[in-house]
């Protein structure tokens, strides 16, 4: 039991850089490049940790604290979502809204940190970030509400503990709300077509603009937190909508099976993100609301479908 708790705490930060590495590798292959090793993100973080730091003279404690808090929020969310085992039924903090608003707490600090140094880039990055995340919030909450209404609880662990939705009569609403969720996760994690994680061009960047002034340890934490957030969305998509193989008892075999299933599903979803990123151009900023509202409407439709079916 203790082992599972510890695993819940450390699994997110340990696996997340690998996800980024895999997506980068897939993108490189699409571009006919060899690409860096999938372990490169670990080396980057390690290297940044050992660099000295420059902090802007305009920055306040918000800028200094933000990386620690943002990183901490991703760890907390990692604990509060089912990763490989769902039998613990974390009834104290494993709630859907806790997860959504803890992630929002991270966004809050991230956006403020972007404004704190008073650079023109950071401010615009923050403005874009909060715009995208404000519009994504509706779709995010509604898509998760769809499955929580099917199962009748907002506890994420109970949701992934339930029968597999895809083979139930709720196949259609599950798939539709997953589509809504997938759009939101691209937006929240700063991926194509919302943001370009590889850019440093001021016209297009969102996330990179906010962390432009960071260096050294704090930059490492920011990058790591972004990777964690990416992994969290992947894991949520994998375990809530397709809870295949998740461990439902404290059996060592079940847990090992759960971990394997998690790795497999994570890999598939990373590949999906990589393929989407390689086959799509970044959208113009003012086209993004259309996409986010699509996600909102998809989820609303899915909820409607659930309700019609359950009548």
């Amino acid at each position: 039991m203790v082992l599972i708790l510890i695993l819940q705490f450390i699994l997110t930060p340990v696996i997340s850089p690998l996800c980024i590495g895999i997506v980068k590798k897939i993108k490189a292959k699409f571009q006919n490049r060899e690409g860096a090793s999938i372990f490169q993100p670990y080396r980057d973080i390690w290297k940044l940790m050992h660099k000295d730091e420059v902090i802007s003279s305009d920055a306040s404690w918000v800028f200094r604290c933000a990386p620690f808090i943002i990183f901490a929020t991703t760890i907390i969310v990692g604990v509060n979502i089912p990763l490989f085992a769902s039998f613990s039924l974390n009834g104290s903090t494993g709630d859907l809204l806790v997860v959504v608003y803890t992630l929002a707490l991270g966004t809050f600090f991230l956006a403020l940190a972007g404004m704190d140094t008073g650079s023109a880039f950071g401010g615009f990055g923050s403005s874009r970030e909060v715009t995208v995340s404000a519009l994504a919030e509706g779709g995010f909450i509604l898509s998760l509400f769809t499955i929580s209404l099917i199962i009748g609880t907002t506890n994420l662990f109970s949701i992934s503990n339930a029968e597999v939705l895809l083979v139930s009569e709720f196949f259609l609403p599950t798939v539709i709300s997953f589509a809504g969720f997938f759009i939101v996760s691209l937006a929240e994690t700063g991926r194509y077509p919302f943001d370009n994680p590889a850019t440093h061009l001021e016209l297009t960047m969102i996330h990179e603009a906010m962390i432009l002034e960071y260096s050294g340890k704090r930059l490492a934490l920011m990058e790591w937190a972004a990777a964690n957030k990416f992994f969290i969305f992947i894991a949520m998509g994998a375990n809530l909508f397709f809870p295949f193989g998740i461990a439902q008892s404290a059996d060592i075999v079940a847990i090992l099976f759960g971990l394997t299933a998690l790795f497999l599903k994570t890999f598939i979803l990373c590949a999906m993100v990589g393929i989407v990123e390689s086959s799509m151009a970044k959208s113009r900023f003012f086209r993004l609301p259309d996409l986010l509202i699509t996600s909102f409407i998809l989820s609303a439709v899915a909820i409607g479908l659930v309700q019609i079916q359950s009548l």
Binding site: G123, S127, L142, L311
Partner: protein, 682 residues
């Protein structure tokens, strides 16, 4: 002792304390320092007594008492204090306590400018008026208390009278509040016509005499009348004008508490007097709540006046409270008492939470305005270095209002979300779609509120100062910091102990007559954990808080001290492509919200005006100066209030014909009216 506190005497003593406070302020009006001390300390003592009294009355018993005279049989000064009233007395006293502490330091800047005694006089009357509003048990007495509250707050709004804008705002407030009162008066008269009484208890027992259609009319009148005070859209226009004009500790009270008296009366009339509740009332309230929440936050985003921004957020939060109340009404009419109690409890919990964080935000904004002498956020910037404590308090308030855990705003929104979800899971298709829309509105509101407070905090406190005023800013005085700090701690405490508070608040409703047919006690918590009915979800605030503290500290210790201990940190300038850094490179609050405004252009109607002056007006190639005006159109002003205004003015012009100005003619008019009335009444 408890018997004395929780008796009629306890409440009358409370009113007496505020009465002395009011009169004492007038007596000491010649001496500013003395008047300030008197009014602040008497309000502090009054509010402390109020807190004790409310807690006692909440736990011990209901009480009713009346003072009537034979001269006017209809008017009786009757009070009834049940748990709902006690809850509101508690909220009013709690916020008054911190606002009055803050006031000790804040009022100083009015010395030798305005009469401090007058401020104290109206301040005390205002609070006493609110206390009477939430305890009155007679329609006529209620209206007197309501007017006392409105008029006293009008004088507080126009207190800073040298600014013509404030006087204008006060006038708008006066007009709107009386339009609202007019609706309320008609509602009470209709009730009187059918029940023959203004007394709330006899109205309750005789509600069956009122025909259903008339009840619907009364519902609409009350919704508009009390909604005007609460600030629901489209009757909100006075709110963003009046709240900024008042002194900050008064705006904190107005926004934190006064607008909630509208909510109190809605609960009292809909759930306690007019039984049974038809389904469409609840749906109507849900729709009004969703619209107010969503539009409130959108208008807040367009503002760069910090107090107006906060005022619009009050509209948003009233919308969220109405979502709770609306679901309570819907569930009541469906006969689902537990869920109705849950919705009401969510609304009441949010009432308390909004009171704490909104007054905190108004007070800290007041400190900033006091130091910089402007409400324009474009002139702030970098204040965190000059006013670190105030910045921290505003920060806490921003997090609480954006519903970020572990602060209190999150937990009441959690309860509201759970109520709405239960609504989606029950009832018929039409009702479901209303609940889905309400849920969507609440979710979107949360995201937009976060955007708005990133803007407000960022533009005010972060980056570099944008105007010379900022450099003169100094930290708030001790009493101001104590007032704000207390509220900030309260935001956290109400969050961490949400499990206990939530289960207290959901059962306030059990005493209301709507639920008396099916008395039921709802448990939504076990210990500190909030649990939604039917096991729909649960959250434990203390565990969540402990998790936050644990993880944040572990991360800081591990990263700071375990990895690369001897890392060097340099302080350097912000990189800006090699140019000289100026404050104009920072993002402004207008610029920050611009993309959201453009996305919602259909609702907000943004407009852009360019004014270009050329060096050579014939050639028009080289601009000398260029002014860009960005603004948003107020659609209520242009589509609702202006047509209404021109209609009334037009009618008045027509009626001018009969106004000759001669006294004899007017006397004859009076005679005619008297004769007609006599004939009609027979």
């Amino acid at each position: 002792m408890t018997n004395v506190i929780t008796s009629e005497f306890g409440f009358l003593f409370l009113l007496f304390l505020y009465g002395i406070g009011a009169i004492g302020s007038l007596i000491f009006r010649k001496n500013d320092v003395l008047a300030n001390r008197w009014q602040s300390f008497s309000a502090i003592i009054g509010s402390l007594w109020g807190i004790f009294f409310a807690m006692g009355a909440f736990v011990v018993r209901d009480m009713s008492f009346a003072f009537s005279s034979s001269i006017s049989p209809l008017l009786s000064f009757s009070f009834h204090i049940d748990q709902l009233s006690a809850f509101f007395i508690f909220v009013i006293s709690l916020i008054t306590l911190f606002c009055s502490v803050y006031g000790i330091g804040y009022i100083k800047h009015y010395y030798n400018k305005y009469s401090i005694g007058a401020l104290g006089f109206f301040y005390h009357l205002f609070i006493a008026g609110m206390l009477m509003v939430v305890t009155a048990s007679n329609g006529l007495f209620f209206l007197i208390a309501w007017e006392l509250m409105s008029i006293a707050s009008y004088f507080l709004v126009v207190y800073d009278r040298n600014d013509a804008n404030n006087v204008k705002a006060g006038f708008l407030y006066l007009v709107m509040t009386h339009v609202g009162t007019a609706f309320i008066v008609v509602a009470f008269l209709l009730i009187y016509t059918y029940t023959g009484s203004f007394d709330f208890t006899s109205i309750q027992s005789q509600a069956a005499l009122i025909p259903a259609v008339i009840k619907d009319v009364i519902f609409l009148l009350a919704l508009v009348g009390f909604g005007t005070k609460a600030g629901i859209i489209p009757f909100h226009i006075w709110l963003p004008a009046a709240h900024p004009a008042a002194p900050s500790h008064v705006s904190a009270l107005m926004s934190g508490v006064m607008i909630k008296t509208g909510i109190y009366m809605m609960i009292r009339i809909f759930l306690d007097m007019l039984q049974p509740v038809p389904l469409w009332w609840g749906i109507m309230v849900l729709i009004v709540g969703s619209v107010s929440a969503l539009l409130g936050v959108l208008y807040a985003l367009t503002e760069h006046d910090i107090k107006k921004l906060l005022a619009y957020h009050s509209i948003e939060n009233i919308g969220i409270i109405l979502l709770g109340l609306g679901s309570a009404l819907v569930f009541t009419s469906l006969g689902n008492t537990p869920l109705a109690l849950l919705g009401l409890g969510a609304g009441l919990f949010h009432t308390l939470n909004h009171a704490t964080f909104k007054s905190l935000l108004f007070l800290s904004a007041g400190s900033v305005i006091n130091q910089t002498h402007t409400r324009n956020m474009e002139k702030f910037g970098g204040l965190i270095k000059f006013m670190p404590q105030t910045a921290l308090f505003f920060f806490v308030g921003s997090m609480a209002i954006s519903a970020l855990p572990p602060f209190n705003g999150f937990f009441s929104e959690w309860l509201t979300f759970q109520t709405l979800l239960q609504g989606i899971a029950s009832a018929d298709i039409f009702l479901k779609s209303i609940f889905i829309l309400a849920t969507g509105a609440l979710a979107a509101t949360g995201g937009l509120a976060l955007a708005c407070f990133v803007k407000a905090f960022g533009a005010t406190f972060l980056a570099r100062p944008r105007s010379p005023e900022v450099f003169h800013a100094q930290e708030s005085s001790l009493s101001q910091s104590v007032g704000m700090g207390g509220l900030a701690i309260l935001c956290l405490v109400c969050g961490v102990f949400s499990g206990y508070l939530g289960s207290l608040f959901v059962n306030i409703g059990t005493k209301l007559s709507a639920f008396q047919a099916m008395p039921q006690i709802l448990t939504i918590s076990s210990g500190s954990t909030l649990i939604a009915p039917h096991g729909f979800g649960s959250v434990s605030a203390p565990v969540l808080f402990a998790l936050f503290v644990l993880v944040v500290f572990t991360v800081i210790i591990l990263i700071k001290f375990a990895v690369n201990k001897n890392q060097k940190t340099e302080i350097g300038a912000t990189w800006d492509c090699g140019t000289n850094l100026t404050p104009r490179m920072e993002i402004t609050s207008t610029g920050f919200a611009r993309s959201i405004i453009l996305i919602f252009a259909g609702i907000l109607r943004p407009s852009v005006q360019h004014e270009i002056e050329y060096h050579d007006s014939a050639m028009r190639y080289f601009p000398k100066s260029r002014i860009v005006n960005l603004s948003t159109q107020d659609i209520y002003q242009s589509y609702l209030y202006q047509p209404l205004n021109s209609l009334i003015t037009g009618l008045s012009v027509r009626f001018k014909v009969i106004q000759s100005g001669s006294m004899n003619v007017y006397v004859s008019y009076i005679l005619i009216v008297v004769v007609v009335t006599i004939f009609l009444s027979q």
